[in-house]
Symmetry: C2
Subunit: 378 residues, 2 copies
């Protein structure tokens, strides 16, 4: 195996692949990055037990300046290999595999000899049929993920709740996540020949949206028994799926309400951020909302016995229904409000002090809802 390549183009792709590689893995070869050089180009692979990422650098694209002298494969220690490539002096570098997987990397005056590993010992990538692909506009896909992944559980006690449930049928795609204290659900229109119900680990989705650069227009999704493959540009992103049955969540979302307020999402977020400054210092991180319907007045209270108190009359555009005193974790509300984007008109609907309340965008009420369970303080 021997080639030379444009250093910047190579680094762009290793930056993608690097996201799948963990230095904490218990499988030593997975701390490495695999290079496979074929006649048509170079494939770079990184993997951990949950996700695998490959990036392809084509020989055809002259910008890559890829000159192939002989094909082959090698696994190099990812951390050092990346640091070395980033610090090399030249615009290009040469890589040549010597005996015993020793690998010579040269660029300008620099000459590195790195101990590689036999690529035959690297685990095989999962096999995923790409016949029935679903195709999403990138922005919409990122929105669906970012709006739901905030609600996944970080506790491993119920593993299915650490994932986002994707339900694909004739109604389109419904994406839902809950950690049993809060829930996020987003629906979008999509046509699919097949029906699917899968649970994708939240961590995989978070890494995936970080990997998709702004220049990517579309992303394709292929689903197999226990793997999902996302492909875009020259990148393939594999994630394992979570086993098990995701709970029915539709019945958790209330249909009617007794008190409804509308806000600008950014205004309400700022108020909750201020109130949470003090609640974070108290033992139970809770803030209280008091609604006086007759006065059309909603007031937020936060306090910490040590530091002090805060109170703030909220700037709501409408307020209808019954009086209410309700307490909740401000961090859940902050996460939920951020998911609407800035300056969106939102509707917050309450049933009672002990029932979950919902936040929806006024413009798209049926397709997006954030739900938060209050805290009983009496």
């Amino acid at each position: 195996m021997k080639f030379s390549i444009d250093r910047t183009k190579f680094i762009n792709q290793t930056n993608n692949v690097q996201r799948a590689i963990s230095s904490k893995t218990t499988i030593p070869i997975l701390t490495g990055m695999k290079l496979d050089l074929a006649e048509n180009g170079l494939t770079i692979t990184g993997s951990n037990s949950d996700i695998s990422i490959t990036a392809f650098i084509s020989k055809e694209d002259a910008d890559n300046d890829l000159n192939i002298e002989s094909t082959g494969s090698i696994v190099l220690p990812a951390k050092f290999f990346n640091e070395i490539i980033k610090k090399l002096p030249g615009d290009n570098f040469n890589l040549k595999v010597l005996d015993n997987n020793q690998t010579l990397i040269t660029s300008g005056v620099s000459e590195f000899t790195i101990n590689g590993l036999d690529a035959n010992n690297y685990p095989h990538l999962p096999e995923v049929e790409t016949e029935n692909q679903l195709v999403f506009p990138t922005d919409l896909f990122k929105e669906v993920v970012n709006q739901t992944v905030i609600a996944v559980s970080t506790q491993e006690s119920r593993p299915v709740l650490t994932g986002v449930n994707f339900i694909i049928n004739s109604d389109g795609l419904t994406s839902v996540a809950t950690d049993s204290h809060r829930l996020a659900q987003r629906k979008i229109d999509i046509t699919s020949d097949e029906e699917y119900n899968l649970i994708i680990p939240g961590k995989s989705l978070t890494e995936l949206v970080r990997t998709i650069s702004d220049s990517v227009k579309e992303i394709s999704m292929s689903i197999s028994e226990n793997q999902v493959l996302f492909s875009f540009d020259n990148v393939m992103f594999y994630s394992r799926l979570l086993d098990g049955r995701y709970p029915e969540t539709d019945r958790l979302i209330p249909d009617d309400s007794n008190t409804t307020l509308t806000f600008d999402s950014s205004n309400l977020l700022s108020s909750v951020e201020r109130a949470s400054l003090l609640s974070h210092e108290s033992r139970n991180n809770v803030i209280k909302l008091v609604i006086k319907a007759a006065d059309k007045k909603a007031t937020l209270f936060g306090n910490s016995p040590e530091v002090g108190t805060v109170e703030e009359v909220l700037d709501c555009s409408s307020l209808e229904g019954e009086d209410l005193d309700i307490s909740f974790n401000p961090d859940y509300l902050k996460d939920a409000l951020r998911s609407f984007g800035g300056n969106t008109e939102i509707e917050v609907s309450f049933t009672s002090a002990l029932h979950p309340f919902t936040i929806r965008p006024v413009e798209n009420k049926d397709n997006f809802v954030q739900l938060i369970t209050p805290v009983r303080t009496f």
Copy 2:
């Protein structure tokens, strides 16, 4: 005490004062920020056992929008007070001390009530005579500090070595620091009526240069028995001095050399950074320089038994003297090279493989030297 003030102007000054405040102090009142409101303006104070910083906001400067209703003093919990002020909704805020040091802060719809502390219990600032002030151009002062403070010791076993020695006499200012493995010495011209020999803690100097904003043209230095006061704009920065006698360092700096090379500082730094990628992974963090005078060739070697090896022929502009094999800690050389700034022509002079070597700027050889002790590897 009651006033209103421009929020941004206030934050600019609390950001300075905040540098002196540690949440880890064993003296509870020092986790607070002191506000003293007099007829002419507001003084903000922060302190820990080593440094104290005050900033003054003048009533005269209309930009501060400082409206004083009644004077007084209060100590507020610094961390929360700063977070609250940063998140308030209005351009201005009002502050009023109520009974029992409770303090009401209002801005727009927000209303915070914070538990303050009695300002009478706050420690007094050190007293420093400001009659014999030394005045430095800010850029030059920052340069002196940044070029020497890199060599202070981080070990408390010899406390004087954790500081930078400032010697002021008819020759000007000599600033020197050493951790006994390396040494940095910088001299500048300055006229002073008095002679001084003081040791300023390295940490104080690091905080000081961070506090001086780019807009500051001059900085004044006043020295007392055990304190030094730096003043600039409306800020006063006090540091304690270190007790004890700083070692004589002049005799450590060799006068002659047997091998001398000149480099561009940035080029050499890049080469050392590459070589140290591997040396960092070996048990003794050492790289080797091999000089072949007849070939006019200097080669840098780094290796890690686990990862591999690197070798690089250095790009030197001149090479005179005897052959040499010398090994040293690359991190000391990296710190030293960075202190010259980018693309400076530097001279590196060696006596033998076991004697310290020096790095000096070709343009200013007599006034600035970095010295590094090699490592014996045989």
